[in-house]
Symmetry: C2
């Protein structure tokens, strides 16, 4: 094996280290086998690397699909991680204190699958590995790594998500360690490793993640940059010529270079050891030069990224390696043997950890009991008892009701990690003596000094990474954290790709979205959502909820904290809203309910969220008989029986429904026959003027509703036609 070729970058201020590191590989008690030191068999490593590359090539060729290039280029990185660097247990893949690994360049998933096979993850059988891109719907080798499968911490693929998730995982460890570790009892000390490609460094999400992780001084995070300088369009320098190392240093990272990432396993292992070194004061970025598709005729070329190498090319690779060109999917026994001790090593770590936790229980019984509950993802089943049974009756913005409802629970229950994208004064989610999650040695110019025990996260003006970090927190271990994010509703469009990933993975994150309508007023159309709810209402597994007042906010929080099958979004108002006295937290949990029933109704008025009170007032004004339905959530309503749904809407009895919501109508056609909805973007006008400006005026709505019902009755409105009752529009 070559001499370790770890180089410090010219900009790095940290002390240099070189060959002497090789003998300090991994913590001694974690050392699974002979380190990749000077006694290791060079030829054996080469055999492993060659086998790995050819296996990847064959697997992509099999069905003529897949992404071979970067997986092949990262072969040495795989050996360094799964054989030497990471502390994990393939036969106990959900071990609480395992190192977390994320492949942020998720298209290279085959890299991870093949390493899982080699490391002897039980579910990753040979047959399963061969199912990559086959017709098997139960393949454990999908086109991007998926959270449902052993060894995969989070689903990755959309670029930049993985590195942002990794920041969340590292925050989780820091917080748990600061909260529960005691001298001699490091019950949580796992490390987070994340591989990124060129793309994750270009995506804005990745930039946010790097900047924020550097600020947080997440020393338990190591990013391994697979620097192959190739993307789909060609060489990266077609489009990105920044000095990556310098940028990372500016963001507060320590930077190491590995000059030969293709073959120099030893250098990579030395870098990983540096990553795990807890005396660092910064997260570590390892810039590993690799060659996409190395060993093949398309090495270093974009064409090797997303297409199989071709049979002739693969045969030539085999020939150059001195392999049998006819043999496919060949793994020499020596390669399998190379990894055979991994499961036993892992189980030993698991039992050592259990022993430690048992001793911890004796030494710190109360703390250990709390820790155990966190490990099991339990919060008190009666957690909601701290929610007040009733609320002040004066007009209140629903964003303010957040605080009435949750301040006790946030204070008492450590699973809650509450955060905001720089909108603390707007979202009202702090609690008595809340502590900020920040490095303890950070002395901010304003605001209090925080610590890693802190559970209030100032994400900065970085909505996207906030969403993705929350996903990481939720995925750390089921139920250990209940992450809350918050921003203006409109800026959940910035966070949307992360919110979607949470929904796809069924991660229970709660998003609190304020300023959720034109009622936001003078900030104008850039800040007034009219179409965004359609996205979250359409998103599978997502509970999007618009509570009408404090009472419904209580229901929204209760149902959201209890929902474990995906994210929730609680959409609240900037402006004060009346407490109508006819809302119900129990009703909210069903998505829609009858707030006011009448005999022989002529019409059902559907009111929603911040504008529910319009429906109540309109019902009182109308010259015809109007029922009132509160309809805060499509998703919750759709979980109810058809009988319940019909009893709420009563459209099957021939009663037409009219909805009042100043969003575009898309979606309401399922529940209503007509609506007062927006047909354009909003307008900058103070809240007290804007509803009138757009025609949400009780007198005007009275006239239009009466005319509509009359037309409906006399049959002049076509079946299956949704009638738009608002004419006003601006932008």
């Amino acid at each position: 094996m070559a001499t370790a070729d770890v180089q410090t970058n010219g900009h790095v201020k940290s002390s240099k280290y070189g060959d002497n590191m090789v003998n300090g590989l991994l913590h001694k008690e974690q050392k699974p086998s002979a380190p990749a030191g000077k006694n290791t068999d060079k030829d054996e490593i080469q055999l492993v690397l060659q086998s790995f590359r050819l296996l990847i090539a064959d697997l992509c060729q099999q069905f003529n699909m897949g992404h071979p290039g970067s997986a092949i280029g990262m072969a040495a990185l795989g050996v360094a991680l799964w054989k030497y660097g990471m502390k994990y247990a393939p036969h106990t893949p959900t071990w609480f204190n395992r190192d977390r690994f994320l492949l942020s360049n998720g298209h290279a998933c085959l890299f991870q699958y093949a390493n899982h096979y080699l490391a002897n993850y039980k579910s990753m059988t040979w047959e399963q590995l061969l199912s990559y891109h086959s017709e098997r719907p139960d393949s454990l080798c999908p086109g991007h790594p998926e959270i449902e499968h052993e060894g995969v911490e989070l689903t990755t693929g959309p670029l930049g998500q993985g590195i942002a998730n990794a920041v969340g995982l590292a925050i989780a460890t820091k917080n748990l360690a600061a909260t529960y570790n005691r001298p001699g009892f490091d019950v949580v000390n796992n490390h987070t490793w994340c591989i990124v490609g060129d793309a994750c460094l270009q995506e804005g999400l990745g930039c946010e993640a790097f900047s924020y992780a550097g600020h947080l001084k997440l020393t338990n995070l190591t990013v391994l940059y697979d620097n192959n300088q190739i993307s789909c369009d060609g060489s990266v320098d077609l489009t990105n010529t920044e000095d990556v190392n310098m940028k990372m240093e500016a963001c507060g990272w320590e930077v190491l270079d590995v000059m030969d990432g293709v073959n120099d396993v030893e250098a990579i292992v030395a870098a990983l050891e540096k990553g795990r070194d807890t005396s660092r004061t910064k997260p570590l970025f390892v810039n590993i030069r690799s060659i996409i598709g190395v060993g093949s005729a398309v090495a270093g070329k974009a064409v090797s990224h997303g297409a199989p190498l071709g049979t002739q090319n693969i045969a030539d690779m085999k020939k150059a390696y001195g392999w049998d060109t006819e043999k496919k999917f060949y793994l020499p026994d020596q390669v399998k043997d190379f990894y055979k001790d991994i499961p036993a090593r892992g189980e030993k770590w698991v039992s050592q950890w259990h022993e430690l936790v048992n001793k911890y229980k004796q030494a710190h019984p109360d703390l250990a009991a709390e820790f155990q509950a966190r490990v099991e993802g339990r919060i008190p089943s009666d957690w909601a008892k701290s929610i007040p049974p009733s609320f002040p009756t004066e007009d209140t913005p629903t964003r303010k009701a957040n605080n009435y409802v949750m301040k006790e629970a946030f204070g008492d229950i450590k699973a809650f990690m509450v955060g905001t994208a720089d909108l603390t004064p707007s979202v009202n989610m702090t609690w008595k003596n809340y502590e900020i999650f920040n490095p303890p040695d950070l002395k901010p110019t304003s605001g209090s000094v925080g610590s890693y025990k802190g559970r209030y996260i100032h994400y900065g003006i970085r909505e996207h990474v906030m969403g993705a970090i929350a996903n990481g927190l939720a995925a750390y271990n089921p139920g250990t954290f209940i992450p809350i994010t918050s921003s203006f509703f409109m800026f959940y469009l910035y966070a949307a790709p992360a919110v979607r990933m949470g929904a796809l993975q069924r991660l229970p994150v709660i998003h609190v979205a304020t300023h959720d309508s034109i009622g936001g007023g003078e900030d104008g159309p850039t800040h007034q959502p009219v179409e965004l709810a359609a996205l979250y209402r359409a998103m599978p597994n997502m509970h999007y909820i618009r509570p009408a007042d404090s009472e419904e906010v209580a229901g929204a929080w209760e149902v959201s904290v209890n929902y474990k099958q995906g994210p929730s979004m609680i959409s609240v108002s900037r402006q004060t809203l009346p407490q109508t006295g006819i809302t119900s937290r129990e009703g909210l949990k069903k998505g829609a309910y009858v707030a006011k029933e009448v005999q022989d109704a002529d019409v059902t008025l559907i009111g929603v969220g911040a504008e529910f009170h319009f429906a109540v007032k309109l019902a009182e004004k109308l010259g015809i008989k109007a029922r009132v339905v509160s309809f805060p959530s499509y998703a919750l309503f759709r979980e109810q029986s058809k009988e319940y749904q019909r009893s709420v809407l009563r459209r099957n009895e021939g009663i037409p429904s009219v909805v009042i919501e100043p969003y575009v109508s898309l979606g309401w056609e399922r529940y209503a026959d007509a609506g007062f909805n927006m047909r354009s973007f909003g307008h900058s006008l103070p809240g007290k003027y804007i509803y009138d400006y757009f025609g949400f005026n009780i007198d005007s709505m009275k006239r239009k509703t009466e005319t509509f019902v009359s037309d409906w009755k006399n049959g002049s409105i076509g079946r299956g036609e949704y009638t738009e009752l608002i004419d006003g529009s601006a932008h």
Copy 2:
């Protein structure tokens, strides 16, 4: 006036400069008045600054709303820009060669409005300035700057958008200059100035913009960083402690520091002069230390950001300045006089430019004619003649049809600026001898050397900035550019905030979104849209279009290039699709049309985009009589008359509609009574298996459709209930 306090940062490699710059302020021919040099009256500048700050304070106090702090802190920057630095003509605000200015921190809009008033923009009357946050819906002073108003280049507010738009404006200038300028005839040489706050540096979008602008070496772009170190939650160092200057240098920017941004107008003017200096090789970033709410009791505090200062506080400010504490909205005549020559100066520049262009017409008549068409935003009215009348009849992905349709037009018409977020091989939008937009001295490792004349933009893996740059290109001057972006449809979720801003501003940008359904196959659910179309279908002013085959792709491009009231999105398939022979480009332009009519129909099958062919096949298989409607666009359909809509759907005749689209149903309830739609996220399976996996199988759909129609006829399906015919779900 203080000695110029421009400092170079330690990291800057460029030569230092200091006092000697003061005498070289602005290009001599652009100098409007005595430079802010040593002869300028210090007291006068102080009077202007004080007046400006107090005016802002009074304006926010008037209606007890608004963002005073940063506008007050930037007073000196305002003087430097509108009095000295920028080349613009307030009485000819759309002058083609004007400098472009963007306020990326758009909440500080009052800063811009007040400067527009001082600079004598005609529409910004005193009465208008006083209307900030009033009840006037026709106020020219909305809560964020809006493109509709004089002097505002693009609507800003959502953070990071402005700086990204500015990159687009600077690209526009570079491209026009490289294409049309000739020795002695710099017909386009305007500069782009952009103010950013702390937030724009944190947002991922801003990071993408800085990285890409540095790569492009946009020497005609100067960013002025209002470095007040305050955001809503407190001091910026609570959440961001990166070395901003070092990061900017790593991204390829030249960095200058201005240490006293509060008072030192001269230093800022010197920095602006450096910005305009065309001998630079990089864009310029000026780090200007300022103090939010300076002069008030809340100076340097977050509370001054988004709330009025308070009457007592304002009175104290006035007292400290020696002003009459009772006077409100007071502008001394001397201050108005200070700006009075601005319009005449601007008109002189305008006429000089017209003179230059007239001489250019004589010297280069053909080029000048083409330039004139660009200035007027004209492309040949018969541009679409290059679209073939018919296409190959073999199965073709609609993404490939992009090339059939547009390669001639892209090649011939220079208004087209085609770009991609690293998906050139996937989107098929290059043309013969296309040239890449890149600095001419860039020699990429792979791919050809480009130039600023290039019209193909490799945006890198930066979807969000791609969308925002395209907005900047479109807003440079109406019709001068027709920007095209491209990516996977799913990654238009990353770009969505920019796409929305384009829709809000009615900017004609065309987004080409490929891999637009589960048919994308093995990439899996991260890359398979199921809910995203709901967002774009709900977005006002947006034409979201899913063409079914090459013929409809032709219609989609034609209608999109001709649509000037907002963006279009052409949503195309990864997979090959049959050419059914019953589609029509003219039909597409109406959003939906009857592709196959039958007498006494039992059902209407609605087919959409990549899955239209399922409707055609199903109609053939059914044991009942089925009409077939192709329905590529809600937005286009809604522009048609109610009569046309009824003639297409015929639901008013009692014929039920069944839609086939593997997206969630949201929205289809308006047009259909039942649907084969997704109820979950997708799944990783090769394209040839995935439709069956989710139940989009002709035999299965035949049975379900027949049962549904039978139930419909016998009345067992409730009115107003949308019937979901697919059971399958995955994630």
